[in-house]
């Protein structure tokens, strides 16, 4: 990975849920960090602290949030971003699907698989396909966040980045 300061663009992509979020940090097209954070219900201070640590560590230029986020968590992110003067961008689910569309409309698992192909370091954490009646795997949130970041990057190219 080459770090060129003249065209550096660092983003933090989030997939927000009640009591948890998945995140992915990108620097230009390179994936820097990824993971999941969760907190007990009604402990928004904990959530703020966890998100605050990520913001301090990675100092993103902008936050990218997947559409359909939980209202309270979204308000928390907006508030923290406003304090730190970081712009927040919403990415529509359609935009994420379009970024990974081949012939048919891709499911979240298809998108997660495509993300893992692009970033092999994520392949170890790729969950098995969901069976009928089973809930969505927790780890998928991380892939949703990475897909959101990639959808943003495909629409906002930076010099030296593959589109």
């Amino acid at each position: 990975m080459r770090h060129s300061s003249s065209t550096l663009d660092r983003i933090l992509a989030l997939d927000l849920h009640p009591r948890s979020f998945g995140y992915a940090v990108f620097e230009n097209a390179g994936l820097l960090d990824w993971g999941l954070r969760k907190w007990p219900s009604r402990q928004h201070k904990t959530a703020e602290r966890k998100l605050g640590r990520l913001l301090t560590l990675w100092q993103p230029m902008r936050l990218v949030v997947r559409e359909g986020a939980a209202r309270r968590e979204y308000a928390m992110v907006k508030g923290m971003a406003r304090d730190l003067k970081i712009p927040v961008l919403d990415i529509r689910q359609r935009a994420v699907q379009d970024a990974f569309r081949s012939s048919k409309r891709p499911s979240r698992f298809d998108i997660a698989r495509a993300v893992a192909e692009r970033y092999p370091e994520l392949a170890l954490r790729l969950p098995a396909a969901r069976k009928l009646g089973h809930g969505e795997p927790f780890q998928l949130r991380m892939f949703n966040a990475a897909a959101t970041g990639l959808a943003f990057l495909s629409n906002h190219p930076v010099d030296g980045r593959k589109k």
Partner: protein, 119 residues
């Protein structure tokens, strides 16, 4: 808006290598608490640990410590420019000598090298 490189990218390369914090700390011979602090820029990385990290992940110093490297290069370039001015004044006052001229050309070459190395 241009943003700065991070002080170090140790966490990035550890995760890319698929190592956990404890595993990497074991390989580096330090506690995972210490490694966590180095990775989150809460503490400066000691030189032996920095070199071990570069060897472990197969990195060069500018790759692993991109922000710190740029900062050092910028500071050094400024000091070299000041030193070049001082040498220039000495040559103007005392007349050119072999050693002063040689030093001046060396300093000028270092400044040129630093400006290309940090691009």
């Amino acid at each position: 808006m241009a943003i700065l490189k991070l002080t170090s990218y140790l966490r990035v390369y550890r995760k890319k290598a698929g190592l956990t914090l404890r595993e990497a700390a074991y390989l580096l011979g330090i506690s995972h608490f210490a490694l966590s602090r180095y990775e989150t820029h809460l503490r400066e990385v000691p030189l032996p640990v920095a070199l071990c990290c570069c060897l472990l992940y197969g990195l060069t110093v500018p790759q692993a410590f991109a922000g710190m490297y740029d900062l050092c290069a910028a500071l050094l370039a400024r000091r070299l420019a000041l030193f070049r001015n001082r040498l220039g004044r000495r040559i103007a006052n005392n007349g050119p000598s072999d050693s002063l001229t040689q030093k001046l050309s060396w300093v000028t070459a270092r400044i040129a090298h630093l400006s290309t190395a940090t691009l």
